[in-house]
Amino acid sequence: MPRYGMVIDLDRCVGCRACMEACKVENNTPQAIFWMYLFRFEEGEFPATRISFLPRPCMHCDNAPCVKVCPTGARYKRDDGLVATNADACIGSRYCVAACPYGVNSFNWKEPKANYYLDWSAPSAAQALKPVTAGAVPPYDNPDLDRKWGKEQRKIAGGGHRQGIVEKCTFCVQRVEKGLKPACVTACPVSALEFGDLDDPASAVSRRLRSDRSFRLREDFGTEPRVHYIGAARAGTGAREIEQPKGATA
C-alpha cells in the first residue's frame, strides 16, 4: 500500500496559480471554491520588501482533526493516506470546517450547478451548446467525479458537488487511482509540486525530501500533515496577503 504525500518547493514556485486553475477544471469546483489555494504574500518596507508564495492544498493529515470531529464518518482516512469525504454520508454539519487549522474545507451554500460562472442553462447557451455538451453543466463536466472510488466504493471525488455538503481537495483521487498525479502537480510550469509514495525511496517525493530540508505547516498542532514544504522562500510572520481571488475565503 503506497503512502501518498506531496512535496512543495517554495524556491521554485512562481506564484502563477496554474495549480489553482488546474484544480478548478479537473474537479469542477464551483465559483469561489478553491480546493487548492495559492497565497501571495508581501512583507517588509520599501525597499527591503519581500514577496513569497504558498500553495496550500488539503494537508491530508495522518492525525486529521476533521476526521475526528465528523459526526457521520463521512470524512475518513484511507489506507493510502488520502483524507476523503464521502459525499453520500456528509450531512453538512461543518464540524470539519471549524476543526481544520488549515482552512481547506468549503461548504456549498449555493446549488453548485447554478454556481458555475455563466448561466449555462440560459436558452441561448443551452441550445447552442447542447449538440456538443449534451447538456453537461459545466460544459467541461468531468464524469469521473460522480463515480465511486476505492475499495470502499464511495463518492469521494467531489461527489458531483451538492448543495449543503462540504468539499475539499481529494489529491485528485480519480486521477491517483488511474496512476496519474493530481491535476495541480501536472500543471505546475516549474515542477514546484511533486506527488507520490513517501514509502518508496525511489519516488520523486522521497528524493526531494532527502535532498532538502523540509517543514510542514503548523507541525506544533500535531496534525502530521502529508504535505511537506521545501525551500527558503517562506513568508515571515509579518507577511500580508496580496492579490486575493474573488470570493476567496481562505
Partner: protein, 855 residues
C-alpha cells in the same frame, strides 16, 4: 537593499583559461523534470487529442481530454519543448472560453450608427462575406492604400500577415509597437538578429532582470512558461538575479537584489554601467576591435572617415589609416589621430568620452538608485564576465561570458530604442553578445534584413503613407497604430494625402489594448467600413464594426507554429479538438472565402499563390491556383513538403515534431565563419546621426529627431515636463492571469484577478489620505498638449513599488462581455500617444505623469 538569500557563486579567477562543457546543447544540466505523464484512457468514451494553446503567444502544446468528443480539460503536451507537459492558468482556463455562449455565434451586420454600442442582426455567412468581399474589391480598385489590415495577434502569419496582406495589397499593421518592437529595432540595428535580449540560461551565472516580469510574463519571445522554467534551473545552479524595475512584484522571490529604478531612466543607468566597466577595465578589447565598429575612425563632423568609400581604422604599426579589414592590421581601439590634416578619433574613444560623465553619482540622481549599488553591480558584471575565458562547445572554441540580461518590455518607454541600445552596449563592452552564457537575441544566430535596411533608410519628402514610413518624423518605423490614429485625425499635418476607408480587424481590440483609447475612437470614426474577424465581440467591434465574422478559437487547423525553447528545434500545428462551435469558422477558411468574393483568391499573385510562397511549399505540394482547398489539405501539403511523410496526420496523432538540439554552429553568432557572418556590430550609430541631420534639414521638429544620436544619449523624458502636481509616474504591466486585452472576461481567470487596481506605495498613499481599498481618481497629463484624462479605480497599497510611481495592469476596461462588467478601467485610457509619448522609432511609451486623489 540587498535581499540575498541564496548562495551566489562569485566570478572566480578562471579568466584566461579554457574549460570544456560536456553534452552541451543536447541535454545539458537539466534539473527540472516535467511532472507530466501521458494519461491512460480509463474513463468510458475518453480520448486525448494533441493541440496547441490558443490564448498565449508561445503556442504551448496541449492534450485535449475528451469524453465522447466533448473537451473536458487541457493539460500540457509532455513532448512540447516549450511547456514539457505543464500549462499556465490561461492555458487551463481556455476550456471555459471555448464554450462561452457570449462568443459571437453567427455573422453580424450592424443596424445602428457607428461610434456607440452596436445593435446587430444575424446574417448568413454568404451575405456577410459577400458584403465584406465587395468592399475589399471596390476599395482596392480605387486605391489599395485605402485598405488597412490591423491584427492584434495572428497565430498563422503565413496565411494572414503574409498571404492576405500581399494578395490584397492592404497596409498591414501589427501590435508589436505596443509590445517590444523598439527593442527589436535596437537589436536589429546594433547586432543583427530579430529579437530583444535574453540569457543563454544554461550557462548564465549572473543575470540582470531588467524590467523582466518573470513571475507574470515571458520576456523575449515567450509569453510565460519557458523562461520561468529555465530561470528556475539556472537559479538552482547558483545564478544570481539582480532586478532593475520600479516594482518588485514582477520578479518576486526570484530577486536576489532589487534596484527600484525611477521609470524612464534605464538609459541613464546603462550608460553609467558602461562608464564603470570602462573605468575599471572590464572591456573585451579583442571583441570590440575585431567584430564591432569601435575602431572605425570618426571625423569631427561625426561621420566615418572614408577613403574611396571605405571606412578606415588606425594602424599603429604603420602610424597610418588603413581600410577596415585590411590584411595584417591590428587596429587601434582608442585614440585621437590626424589623417590628411583632419582630426579623427576611434568610435570607441568617442564612446569612452560619451559615457565618462555618466558616473554612478550622476546616475544616482537621475535613476533614484544609490551610486554605490550602481558601481557594485557594474563591477560584479565585470568580474563575472570572465573576459578572456573560452569554452569548447560541440568542438568549437567560443568566448565564455556568463553574464546576461533579460530586457523586453523595457522598450515601452519614450527612449525605449535608445535604452535597449545602451544595454546592448554594456554587454558589448563585456564581449557577451552571442557568447556562451551571454546575451542572445533570437533562438539561433540569424541576421535579419533590418540590419542593413535600418542603416540605409532614404528619408523621403511628403506625401507619406499612413504610418509615416520613410518619413522625416519616424525614419526607423515600427508602424504604430497609434500614429496611424493620430495621422487619420489630421493627415495634412503629417503630409499624408489620403485617409484609409476600409479596415479589417483580425483578433485585435485597439480600443482596449492600444494606447490611447481616445485617439482610436476619434480616428476610427473616419473609416467608412470596418470588418472584424474575432471569436468575441470586442469593444472596437462594438463601436465601429459594420460586419463581424465569428472566428473559431482552438477549434481549427492553424500554423505552422514554432515550438523551440531556444535550445531544441521543434514545430507544431494547432489541431482542432472539436468542430467549430456555433457558426464560427477557422480564419484561414474566412480569408479564402473573402479573397474569392474579392476576386483575389485564384491565379498568379492571388491568395493561394501567396500561401504557396509563404509556406515555402515545394513544387510537388503546391496548391492548385484554380481551386479552393480544404484547410486540412493545405497543412497536409505543408507537412509533406517539410519531409514529414505522414503529412498532417503526424500532427493529429503526435502534436509536435521535435527536430533535436540546435548545434553550437547554428546557435552562437560567434560560432559562424566568419563570426556573426561578418556583420559588424554597431557601437557607433553613424546612420542614426545622418538621419537626425536629414530630418532637421527637412524641417522636422526636435521632438522627432532628438533621439537619433550616434550613441544613446539620456535626456529627461517629455513626460517630466508635466506640472509638479502630477507627482507620480504611471506605469503598466501584465498579470499572469491574462493575455493582452482578450482574456479578462474569461470567468475562471477573472475570478483569480477580479478587479483593476492602482498600486501605490503606502507612504505616498498616506500623504494623499488614501487607504488600501479606497476608490481614487487618477488623472494623467500630456506635457506637450496639456490634455488631461482621468479614471476612477481602487487603490491597492504595496511596499513593492517606488513611492514616486503608480502601477496599473494593462488589462480590464472591457464592456461587451457580461463577465467583464465592473472590473474597472484599462490603463490605456490614461496613456497618450504621438509626440512625446512614443519612441523615435514610432513605438508606444507606457509612462505618463499622473496625480491621484481619494474619490
Amino acid at each position: 537593499m540587498a535581499i540575498t538569500r541564496r548562495t551566489f557563486l562569485k566570478g572566480s579567477a578562471v579568466a584566461g583559461g579554457t574549460s570544456a562543457l560536456a553534452s552541451f546543447l543536447a541535454g545539458g544540466p537539466k534539473t527540472l523534470v516535467a511532472s507530466a505523464q501521458q494519461p491512460a484512457a480509463a474513463t468510458a468514451g475518453e480520448d486525448f487529442v494533441p493541440t496547441t494553446c490558443w490564448i498565449g503567444k508561445q503556442d504551448c502544446g496541449m492534450l485535449a481530454r475528451r469524453i465522447n468528443g466533448r473537451v473536458v480539460s487541457f493539460t500540457g503536451h509532455p513532448d512540447h519543448p516549450r511547456n514539457v507537459g505543464t500549462l499556465c492558468p490561461k492555458g487551463v482556463a481556455q476550456v471555459m472560453a471555448i464554450y462561452d455562449p457570449n462568443r459571437v455565434q453567427t455573422p453580424l451586420i450592424r443596424t445602428n450608427e457607428k461610434g456607440k454600442s452596436g445593435t446587430w442582426r444575424r446574417a448568413s455567412w454568404d451575405e456577410a462575406l459577400t458584403l465584406v468581399g465587395q468592399k475589399i474589391k471596390e476599395v482596392r480598385a480605387r486605391d489599395k492604400r485605402l485598405l488597412i489590415w490591423q491584427k492584434g495577434r495572428s497565430k498563422a502569419g503565413a496565411f494572414y500577415d503574409n498571404a492576405f496582406v500581399k494578395a490584397s495589397g492592404a497596409t498591414g499593421l501589427g501590435h508589436g509597437a505596443y509590445c517590444s518592437d523598439a527593442g527589436y529595432r535596437a537589436a536589429e540595428y546594433t547586432i543583427g538578429p530579430h529579437g530583444v535580449l535574453h540569457p543563454d540560461f544554461r550557462h548564465t551565472k549572473y543575470l540582470i532582470s531588467w524590467g523582466w516580469n518573470v513571475t507574470n510574463a515571458g520576456g523575449n519571445k515567450f509569453c510565460f512558461i519557458t523562461w520561468p522554467q529555465q530561470l528556475v534551473q539556472a537559479k538552482e545552479r547558483g545564478m544570481k538575479v539582480v532586478v532593475i524595475d520600479p516594482r518588485l512584484r514582477g520578479a518576486g522571490p526570484f530577486a536576489d537584489e532589487w534596484l527600484p529604478i525611477r521609470p524612464g531612466t534605464d538609459l541613464a543607468l546603462a550608460l553609467s554601467f558602461a562608464s564603470v566597466l570602462i573605468e575599471k577595465g572590464y572591456v573585451d578589447r579583442g571583441y570590440l576591435a575585431k567584430y564591432t565598429n569601435s575602431p572605425y575612425l570618426v571625423k569631427e563632423d561625426g561621420t566615418f572617415l572614408r577613403v574611396d568609400g571605405k571606412e578606415q581604422v588606425w594602424d599603429p604599426a604603420s602610424g597610418s589609416a588603413k581600410p577596415v579589414g585590411a590584411a595584417g592590421v591590428e587596429p587601434a581601439l582608442e585614440g585621437e589621430f590626424t589623417v590628411g590634416g583632419a582630426k579623427v578619433k576611434t568610435a570607441y574613444q568617442l564612446f569612452k568620452e560619451h559615457v565618462a560623465k555618466s558616473t554612478p553619482e550622476w546616475a544616482a540622481g537621475v535613476c533614484g538608485v544609490p551610486a554605490a549599488d550602481i558601481r557594485r553591480i557594474a563591477t560584479e558584471l565585470g568580474e563575472n564576465a570572465l573576459i578572456g575565458h573560452t569554452v569548447v562547445v560541440d568542438g568549437v572554441t567560443l568566448p565564455h561570458r556568463p553574464v546576461s540580461v533579460m530586457a523586453y518590455h523595457m522598450a515601452q518607454q519614450e527612449q525605449g530604442f535608445e535604452a535597449i541600445r545602451a544595454m546592448i552596449m554594456v554587454f558589448m563592452l563585456l564581449g557577451a553578445m552571442e557568447a556562451v552564457g551571454g546575451v542572445r537575441i533570437d533562438f539561433t544566430w540569424k541576421p535579419y534584413a533590418n540590419y542593413e535596411k535600418l542603416d540605409q533608410i532614404k528619408i523621403k519628402d511628403p506625401p507619406y503613407n499612413i504610418y509615416l514610413g520613410d518619413s522625416k518624423y519616424f525614419p526607423i518605423n515600427s508602424k504604430l497604430p497609434g500614429i496611424v490614429a493620430k495621422v487619420m485625425q489630421n493627415p495634412a499635418k503629417y503630409g499624408v494625402d489620403y485617409t484609409p476607408e476600409v479596415m479589417i480587424l483580425h483578433m485585435a481590440n485597439p480600443l482596449g489594448s492600444f494606447a490611447s483609447q481616445a485617439d482610436f475612437i476619434a480616428a476610427y470614426k473616419k473609416f467608412k467600413f470596418v470588418a472584424v474577424i474575432d471569436p468575441w465581440l470586442s469593444e472596437t467591434a462594438d463601436y465601429f464594426a459594420d460586419v463581424v465574422l465569428p472566428a473559431a478559437t482552438i477549434e481549427k487547423y492553424e500554423g505552422p507554429l514554432g515550438a523551440s525553447d531556444q535550445y531544441v528545434d521543434a514545430t507544431t500545428l494547432r489541431v482542432p479538438p472539436m468542430k467549430p462551435l456555433f457558426q464560427s469558422r477557422p480564419e484561414i477558411e474566412i480569408y479564402m472565402d473573402l479573397c474569392e468574393k474579392a476576386g483575389i483568391l485564384y491565379g498568379k499573385d492571388g491568395y493561394l499563390d501567396q500561401v504557396n510562397q509563404a509556406l515555402k511549399l515545394k513544387d510537388a505540394y503546391k496548391l492548385d491556383l484554380g481551386a479552393k482547398p480544404a484547410v486540412r489539405d493545405i497543412f497536409d501539403r505543408w507537412a509533406k513538403s517539410e519531409g514529414i511523410a505522414e503529412g498532417v496526420a503526424y500532427f493529429e496523432k503526435k502534436g509536435v515534431k521535435a527536430k533535436g538540439a540546435f548545434p553550437a554552429k547554428k546557435f552562437y553568432g560567434f560560432a559562424q565563419s566568419p563570426p556573426f557572418n561578418g556583420k559588424t556590430h554597431r557601437l557607433y550609430g553613424e546612420s542614426l546621426l545622418r538621419y537626425q541631420r536629414e530630418m532637421k534639414a527637412k524641417g522636422a521638429e526636435k521632438v522627432y529627431w532628438q533621439d537619433y544620436t550616434a550613441f544613446p544619449t539620456w535626456r529627461p523624458p517629455t513626460k517630466d515636463a508635466s506640472p509638479a502636481a502630477y507627482d507620480l509616474t504611471l506605469i503598466s504591466y501584465k498579470l499572469v492571469e491574462f493575455k493582452q486585452s482578450r482574456s479578462s472576461f474569461i470567468p475562471l481567470l477573472a475570478e483569480l484577478a477580479p478587479e483593476q487596481r492602482l498600486e501605490i506605495n503606502p507612504k505616498t498613499a498616506k500623504a494623499k489620505g488614501v487607504k488600501d481599498g479606497d476608490m481614487v481618481w487618477v488623472e494623467s497629463q500630456n506635457a506637450l498638449t496639456g490634455e488631461t484624462r482621468k479614471v476612477k479605480v481602487r487603490a491597492r497599497l504595496t511596499e513593492g513599488i517606488r513611492p514616486d510611481t503608480a502601477g496599473m495592469p494593462h488589462h480590464y476596461g472591457m464592456w461587451t462581455h457580461p463577465s467583464a462588467k465592473g472590473q474597472g478601467p484599462t490603463a490605456n485610457t490614461l496613456f497618450f500617444t504621438g509626440e512625446g509619448y512614443v519612441t523615435n522609432t514610432a513605438d508606444q511609451s507606457f509612462q505618463v505623469q499622473v496625480k491621484v486623489w481619494k474619490a
